[in-house]
Subunit: 136 residues, 6 copies
């Protein structure tokens, strides 16, 4: 019974790509202008997908109001208008690439959903660069 | 030989979310403003995906003119500018959630396609809420 | 000093096109399937533009939080998930064409803005049909 | 470890659909106006997806600068502002349907990526017609 | 009474930029890869805007079904799936730049509309390049 | 002879809204989370419009390759992947609101264009907030 429901949200944040184990030269070489120590930023567009059977009484896989509230309270309020490197626990020691942000969001949301539901996170860093994470 | 071709279409319809087995209070509690008895409506964007091998003579998985005609005649003409709850057989007794509409469209189109082809239906209720159904 | 700031919002509503001074036949002839007595609906995308000088202290033409609050409280809460013909004072006796909805929104918002500011309302009824109203 | 990174690109090209083994009449019957011998054209939007584990040092599945360079040098420079039928080796004897173009792009890019990475090609011929190819 | 209604349409065509009064070298120098003698092509997105007073009986500036029919019959059927340079009277001796195509469409539609209505043509050659023509 | 050509570009940058003449409390009160001292960021989408007569030899208002080069070299390279407050001369003492960024871009480009051409700058800070500046 393969139905997936998707909900779109967004947040705006500053970040830089940086591996603290590397020299500044190596960071600049690998990450280019994305490693600017003064930061740059993005409008992140987030799509969360939840797959499972439909509840026969509601016709919902999951109530989108509930899903929207989860995303707003646990993801958007945590990351919106923040400096990801300096102001979030998730990226204090993890490089905030789109891949790592998508996985962090998946890990935040996964415990909130019933085990019978599968979870997918799609994150647009720009209109041209995006990632999808479906779990380990 | 995994190629999928997609065709996008759209229809505009009125609907309300409603479970007739429930009281008005319970409907209002579960479905919120989506249960408004006077209805609201959406521009539904529909994407139909068909997966299969390519015909060696045409280079097509399926002729998009044929697929477009199927979608127009069997789906768009049935639902466009209609009140889904009151004017369609599909939702006379089924709650017209995006999940249920996507499944109904899948069931309408499935018999029209060769058994060797897989079918996927993606339905956008709004730019922020959408569903995907790939069959039972 | 011509700067315009724009804010986008949306609401979902049911409506029908109907002139009560006409017969049902004439309504059907002129408005086609848009005159369906059971209603259909749209995801309306609204863009509100405000033109004026920039405040030298803030660098704002108008505070977008203020503009967003106006739009949400006065427009979106009034029209979202409503049947425009049956449930709004604005369209009890006015045909809810995109042109008339845009003008109604303009009339709702105009008194809330300083006289030094010009107001423009753009309303998308679908991705292919939209209107712009800049005042009488 | 299922992370996919996507990169979007585009190219503009002329083409016609044509099977040289068929008569002009049969080509016109099957391919309709797409078989116009004087050609027509499209803005092709291309999305390339690469799936694999994240590099623990960079947090990347694949460096998007590298992926972008591959796409630009091997795909965009080959097809952009070209007549696909007359000016490319790939479609000298292959009908340039969206399905065949997607597969050709997949075959161009596949050898450039590590065997541990999966490759997906999504090609939009128009906003309403698109295809996805994930390999043989 | 400034209301403008807009209708969106599209057509796919091949073209090349070319001034026959110039040498091939000068054409290549000025128009670059757009001057490829074998042609390239685009998905042209067209937005037609009509400004005027609202009809008090319909609430329409112009009936969008009528406007859509004009655009389809006079513009889309003329240019869709055509080679603009070789197969259209408009560009037999006129360089089919986006500017010139927009003006040609304006000249085709202008006589069909009442003199009391103003006409605007917006033409997207690509998502990044577009033009607007509002008349001489 | 009113033709306008538009070219779209984008850049990603960090910024904060801040008036140095105000206390931190007043900045927080007026600019809310946009005043975060650690910065946030955006994908800025920029549309530059140039209005004028068409060159009879080229059919261009302005050569889009030339316009694209101006935008890339003078705007994108200056602002992309930068911290607007800390790393640009334009916003060292000017609050980087969308209004002020649009005006700064207009002032950068204006001297590069012939006096016979009018210039318009449209800047999207997010998909929902954007501004237009057409000069003093």
């Amino acid at each position: 019974m393969a139905t997936t429901v998707f909900r779109k949200a967004h947040f705006n944040a500053a970040h830089r790509l940086h591996n603290p184990a590397w020299s500044d030269e190596k960071n600049a070489e690998v990450f280019g202008k994305c490693s600017n120590p003064k930061y740059h930023g993005h409008n992140y567009n987030l799509i969360v997908g939840v797959t499972g059977p439909k509840d026969p009484e509601t016709g919902f896989v999951v109530d989108l109001s509930f899903l929207n509230r989860l995303i707003t309270e646990l993801v958007v309020e945590r990351f919106d208008h923040k400096n990801l490197n300096e102001e979030t626990a998730e990226f204090a020691n993890v490089n905030p690439t789109a891949e790592n942000i998508a996985e962090a969001i998946w890990r935040i949301l996964r415990p909130e959903l019933d085990d019978s539901l599968a979870l997918k996170v799609i994150l647009y860093e720009t209109e041209r660069n995006f990632v999808e994470y479906t779990g380990p």
